[in-house]
C-alpha cells in the first residue's frame, strides 16, 4: 500500500467491512460522491487514482457538470487534441441524453490547421475558438495543456479546474496551469506510461521538483494537503484480469465491475492440433495465455515473434469465437482485437508478417488494431495480443522494465489477453539485476521488475510452445 499517503483514501479499503456487501456500482458511487463533496468543500487539490477502465473520463465529465452551476466557467485540461475531441463528443452525447442539456461547451484549439472531427463540426452546444475571449459565454472549456500554456494568466484566472490524465502530464506542462488555476481536480491512471524526455534524464531527475516527473508527482510534493482518492472498480477488466493487474501494477487495489459469469468467450468444439488454437482456447477459458517460442536472445526486431503474433491473430479471428458480454452474444470482430508492442519497428514487422500470411492463404488481411503501447493508452478491445517487451532480451533496461508500458499492454481487454514471446523470460529476469538507473518514482511504489515477475508467474501454467 502506498506510503506516500497519510492522505491516501482507498475507498475499497476504508469501507472494507461493508465492501463485501456493497455492489461494485455502490462502491464506485461512494467514491464519486466523496470526490464531489471534497470539491464542494474547496479542497485545493483532489488527486484521483483510476485503474484501467474505471470510468476516469466519465468522472471528469460528471464533476464538470456538477461544478459548472457554481462557477463562472470550468476549464478541463487534457493532454492531446484527440482527448479533447473525445471529451467534447462524450459531453455532447450525454447532453443529448438529457445530462446538463443547457450547458455550453467551448473547445479551445491552437492553429488554423486544426479542424474538428467531421461529426463534431456543427453542433449547437459547442463553440470552437483559438482565443479564450471568444469562449466567454461557455460553461465548460476543453483544451490540451499545450494550448492552455498560451492563455494569458494576467487577464484570465479560474478558481477551479479539472485535469485529465495527470499521470501522463509532465510536470513542466503543469506550470502554466498553476498560473491560471486556483485549485484542481486531477484525475489519472498511475499505472500508465510515465512521461519522459529524449534528453539525458540524469540532469533532470535529480532536482527537488523534476520537470520530467508526472504532474501528479509534483502535486504530491508541493501540496501535502492533497487528498488522494482511488477509484475502486474497473469496469473494463474481467474478474481474472482485474486481480492480476491490480496485484502486479497498482499500489491501491481494485476489483472488477463485472461478475465472472457476465463475461466469457466460447469456441466451437473441435480437435486441438494447432498450438495457436490451443492458446486461444486457454485464453478463452482463463483470460490469459502465453504463446512461447524456443528460448534464445534476439534483436528488438525478432521476426519469428512477429510471425507467431500473426499466427495468433489468425487463429483468433478465424476461430469462430463468440463473445458473451453482459447478456449480449456476438461473434468476435477483428476490429475488437488489438496487437500491442513496445517498439514501432515491431508494429511494422507484425503488419508485414500478417500481410504475408494472408497473401499466402489467399485471404483478406483482418482489420485488427496493431500499435505500440503508447498509442493503445486509453483504448479498449475484447481480446489483445501482446508482444512481450522482454522477449529475447539479454539486457532489459529501464524502458523494458517500465511497469507502465507492460500495464498498458495487459489492461486493454474486456475478455482475454494472449502474450507472445520467447521461452526463458523469467530466467533472464531473475539473472538480471535491475538496471542501475532504475528507481521507483515518488508517486508509485510499483517496481517494474517485481511486476513482470508476478505476471510471468501467473502465465506459468498457461503456456503453449510453438516452433518458428
Amino acid at each position: 500500500m502506498s506510503e506516500s499517503g497519510s492522505n491516501f483514501e482507498s475507498l475499497a479499503a476504508s469501507t472494507a467491512p461493508r465492501a463485501a456487501a456493497e455492489s461494485p456500482v455502490a462502491l464506485s458511487r461512494l467514491a464519486i460522491d466523496r470526490i464531489s463533496s471534497l470539491l464542494d468543500a474547496s479542497t485545493p487539490v483532489v488527486l484521483v487514482d483510476s485503474p484501467p477502465g474505471a470510468g476516469k473520463s466519465t468522472l471528469v465529465r460528471e464533476m464538470a457538470r456538477r461544478q459548472a452551476p457554481h462557477r463562472r466557467q470550468v476549464p478541463i485540461v487534457v493532454q492531446t487534441n484527440a482527448q479533447a475531441d473525445d471529451m467534447v463528443a462524450s459531453l455532447v452525447a450525454e447532453m443529448n441524453a438529457g445530462l446538463g442539456a443547457k450547458l455550453r461547451i467551448g473547445r479551445l484549439h491552437a492553429s488554423e490547421n486544426y479542424s474538428p472531427p467531421p461529426d463534431l463540426r456543427v453542433l449547437p452546444q459547442v463553440t470552437y475558438a483559438m482565443k479564450i475571449d471568444d469562449l466567454a459565454h461557455t460553461h465548460i472549456v476543453i483544451a490540451p495543456a499545450m494550448k492552455w500554456a498560451f492563455v494569458d494568466d494576467i487577464d484570465n484566472q479560474w478558481p477551479f479546474a479539472i485535469i485529465d490524465e495527470v499521470y501522463q502530464m509532465r510536470s513542466d506542462a503543469l506550470q502554466p496551469i498553476g498560473r491560471l488555476m486556483g485549485s484542481l481536480l486531477a484525475v489519472g491512471d498511475p499505472g500508465q506510461i510515465k512521461p519522459f524526455t529524449v534528453l539525458d534524464e540524469g540532469q533532470w531527475r535529480n532536482l527537488d521538483i523534476s520537470p520530467i516527473e508526472s504532474a501528479a508527482a509534483t502535486l504530491l510534493k508541493t501540496r501535502p494537503d492533497t487528498v488522494r482518492v482511488a477509484l475502486p472498480v474497473s469496469w473494463r477488466l474481467p474478474a481474472h484480469s482485474a486481480d492480476l493487474v491490480s496485484r502486479a501494477f497498482y499500489a491501491s487495489s481494485f476489483v472488477a465491475g463485472s461478475a465472472p459469469e457476465e463475461r466469457s468467450l466460447t469456441l466451437p468444439i473441435g480437435a486441438l492440433t494447432d498450438p495457436y488454437d490451443q492458446a486461444v482456447r486457454i485464453a478463452a477459458a482463463g483470460g490469459w495465455a502465453m504463446v512461447e517460442l524456443p528460448g534464445g536472445s534476439a534483436p528488438k526486431l525478432d521476426l519469428e515473434v512477429a510471425d507467431a503474433v500473426a499466427c495468433t491473430v489468425l487463429a483468433l479471428v478465424d476461430g469462430n469465437v463468440e463473445v458473451h458480454d453482459g447478456g449480449r452474444t456476438e461473434p468476435l470482430h477483428a476490429l475488437r482485437v488489438a496487437v500491442g508492442t513496445a517498439h514501432t519497428a515491431q508494429v511494422d514487422a507484425v503488419r508485414r508478417a500478417l500481410r504475408e500470411q494472408c497473401i499466402a492463404l489467399g485471404r483478406v488481411v483482418p482489420a485488427v488494431e496493431i500499435s505500440t503501447a503508447n498509442r493503445l493508452q486509453g483504448r479498449e478491445f475484447d481480446v489483445t495480443i501482446v508482444w512481450h517487451p522482454l522477449s529475447g532480451r539479454t539486457d532489459p533496461g529501464r524502458f523494458h522494465l517500465d511497469p507502465g508500458r507492460m500495464c498498458v499492454l495487459l489492461s486493454r481487454h474486456r475478455h482475454a489477453c494472449i502474450i507472445v514471446g520467447r521461452a526463458g523470460i523469467l530466467d533472464q529476469l531473475l539473472l538480471t539485476p535491475p538496471p542501475a538507473e532504475y528507481r521507483a518514482e515518488a508517486e508509485s511504489d510499483v517496481d517494474g521488475w517485481a511486476a513482470h515477475r508476478i505476471v510471468l508467474d501467473h502465465l506459468a501454467g498457461r503456456r503453449v510452445g510453438v516452433e518458428p
Partner: protein
C-alpha cells in the same frame, strides 16, 4: 539501437578498424582551443592533483598539488589555472574547451565549478579572486556541455564516438586510448590489438589516476613534501618530483586529445555547424557580458520555472539538431532509411494532375517510385523532401519494390508544380525537416503548484539569482 549501428559495429569488429558513422563533421572546431586534462584525488573530486592545459599541443602548462588535502596548497596551485582560464574566456574570439572524456567534463565543469564559484575570497584563508571567477566560467561551460549541439565544450571521447563506431562495447569506448586504438591502430595492428595494447600500457586520461601511480608517485611526493615543511628547497624538490611523474602520466592523454582534434579536422564540416556555432557565440557573448559586469550568479537548486524552461528549450534544440544532422549527412540518412519511415528511390511514374478521391477532391500529384530498399512508411506519416524540403508527401500504396506517394503540400498549384520530380530522378523523403520553432512560453514566476512547502531550516535567498540554469 539502429540496424546501421549494429551493422557498423559488426563491420568494425570483423575488419579490426573503426567504421565511420557519419560522412560529415557535426561539430565546430576552433582555431584556438583550450585543451585541459587532469587528475583529482581518488574519492575526492574537489581535490585536483595535477592538471595540464594549454592552447598549443607542444607547450602545455601544468600544475601539481603536492598536498591535495590542504586548502591553501590546493588554491595556490589552482590559481595559475584559474588566471589563464579567465584570460581565455575573456579574450578568446572562438572559445572552445576540449577535454578528454565525459567524466572529466563532469568533474572539472560541475564539481570544480561548484566549489570554486562560491569560494570565500575574504576571511582568514581567502582564496584568490580568480578562482571564484573561474568557477563562474566553469559553471557556464557545464551548461554549454549539457546543451544539445553546442561546440563550446568538446570531449575527445564524445567527438570520436559520435563520428566512429568501434568493434567494442560502448563502455569500453570511454577509454580514450583504447578508442583511438580502434580509429588509428598504427601500422600492422588491428583496432583490437591497438586497443588492448593501449589499455595495458597507457595511463588513464583522467580524471581518475591509476591507483599504482597514486601509490608510487603521488604518495611518495606528498610524504616528501610534508617532511620538508619549512625547507623551501626540499619542498621545491618534492614538487618537481611530482611534476615529472604527473607529466609522464598526463602526456599520453594530452596527446590523444590533440590527435583527436586532428582526426576531426580531416572530416568535412556539415552545413548546419556554422549556424549552431552562431548560437553558441550568442550565448557566450551574453555570458561574457555578465562576467564583465560581475553578474555570474547560479542557483544551487534551480527554481522549478527555470528548469522547466530550460528542459523545453533543450528538447527543441535537440530535435532540431537531430534533423539538421540527418539532412546534412548521407550516411546518417542511410541509417534513417533502414529503420525509420522514409523513402529512397527512383521516380518511374508521375501523375501531375492526380486528384485524391476524398470528400474535398484535392489535387495531389502522384509519384510512383522504385524503392532502393523496402520502406516502413505508412499512410499517416508526413514525409519531407530531402533535396526539396517544401515537398510534403504521404504514402498511398507500398510493396517492397514500389511505392506510390501523393504530394500533399509544396507542388499542388500552378506556381509550385515545377517542384514535382520528373521521371528518372532520384528522390529521398524522410520524416525530418528543419523547423523554425516559435518562442515557447517565456521564463515566468514559479506557480503554487511548483512551490515546495517551507521546511524551516531552508535559507532561501542565498546566492540565488539571475543566470538561469543548472550547474
Amino acid at each position: 539501437m539502429s540496424t546501421m549501428h549494429l551493422y557498423q559495429g559488426a563491420m568494425a569488429s570483423t575488419t579490426g578498424l573503426a567504421v565511420p558513422r557519419t560522412s560529415r563533421r557535426h561539430l565546430h572546431l576552433s582555431d584556438d582551443p583550450l585543451v585541459i586534462v587532469g587528475y583529482h584525488l581518488a574519492g575526492e573530486p574537489a581535490a585536483p592533483v595535477a592538471m595540464m592545459w594549454g592552447r598549443s599541443a607542444t607547450r602545455p602548462h601544468m600544475f601539481v598539488v603536492p598536498e591535495p588535502r590542504e586548502r591553501s596548497t590546493r588554491f595556490e596551485a589552482l590559481s595559475a589555472f584559474a588566471t589563464e582560464l579567465v584570460a581565455y574566456m575573456t579574450a578568446a574570439s572562438d572559445p572552445q574547451i576540449v577535454l578528454a572524456n565525459p567524466a572529466t567534463a563532469s568533474w572539472l565543469l560541475k564539481f570544480v565549478g561548484r566549489f570554486t564559484r562560491y569560494v570565500r575570497v575574504d576571511g582568514a584563508t581567502p582564496a584568490p579572486v580568480s578562482i571564484r571567477e573561474a568557477g563562474g566560467h566553469l559553471t557556464f561551460l557545464h551548461q554549454e556541455y549539457m546543451t544539445p549541439g553546442s561546440s563550446t565544450v568538446l570531449t575527445a571521447v564524445d567527438a570520436l564516438t559520435q563520428h566512429f563506431r568501434t568493434g567494442q562495447m560502448p563502455s569500453e569506448d570511454q577509454n580514450l586510448a583504447a578508442l583511438l586504438g580502434w580509429v588509428r591502430p598504427g601500422s600492422g595492428m588491428t583496432g583490437l590489438d591497438a586497443a588492448m595494447l593501449a589499455e595495458a600500457t597507457d595511463p588513464p586520461s583522467g580524471p581518475m589516476s591509476d591507483p599504482s601511480w597514486d601509490r608510487e608517485v603521488l604518495e611518495e611526493a606528498s610524504e616528501l613534501w610534508r617532511s620538508a615543511e619549512g625547507d623551501a628547497d626540499l619542498q621545491r624538490h618534492a614538487r618537481r618530483r611530482l611534476e615529472d611523474g604527473a607529466r609522464d602520466a598526463l602526456d599520453p592523454g594530452w596527446n590523444q586529445v590533440w590527435t583527436t582534434l586532428g582526426i576531426m579536422s580531416g572530416l568535412p564540416e556539415a552545413a548546419s555547424v556554422a549556424h549552431r556555432r552562431a548560437d553558441d557565440m550568442r550565448r557566450f557573448r551574453d555570458h561574457r557580458d555578465r562576467a564583465a559586469a560581475g553578474q555570474m550568479f547560479f542557483r544551487i537548486q534551480p527554481e522549478a520555472s527555470g528548469s522547466a524552461w530550460l528542459l523545453q528549450r533543450h528538447e527543441r534544440t535537440d530535435e532540431q539538431l537531430r534533423a539538421e544532422m540527418v539532412l546534412d549527412d548521407p550516411l546518417l540518412m542511410a541509417a534513417v532509411l533502414t529503420d525509420e519511415p522514409a523513402i529512397s528511390g527512383t521516380v518511374i511514374g508521375v501523375e501531375p494532375t492526380h486528384v485524391e478521391r476524398d470528400t474535398r477532391q484535392r489535387r495531389r500529384p502522384l509519384l510512383r517510385i522504385r524503392l532502393d530498399l523496402a520502406t516502413y512508411a505508412t499512410e499517416s506519416v508526413d514525409l519531407y523532401g530531402v533535396a526539396t524540403p517544401e515537398l510534403v508527401v504521404r504514402v498511398r500504396n507500398a510493396t517492397d519494390e514500389i511505392v506510390e506517394v501523393v504530394i500533399v503540400k509544396g507542388a499542388n498549384n500552378a506556381t509550385s508544380e515545377h517542384r514535382i520530380p520528373t521521371v528518372g530522378s532520384h528522390v529521398v523523403f524522410s520524416p525530418y525537416r528543419v523547423r523554425e520553432f516559435r518562442n515557447g512560453s517565456s521564463l515566468r514566476a514559479t506557480p503554487w503548484t511548483h512551490t515546495l512547502p517551507e521546511i524551516g531550516d531552508d535559507t532561501p535567498g542565498t546566492a540565488r539569482s539571475l543566470e538561469v540554469g543548472h550547474e
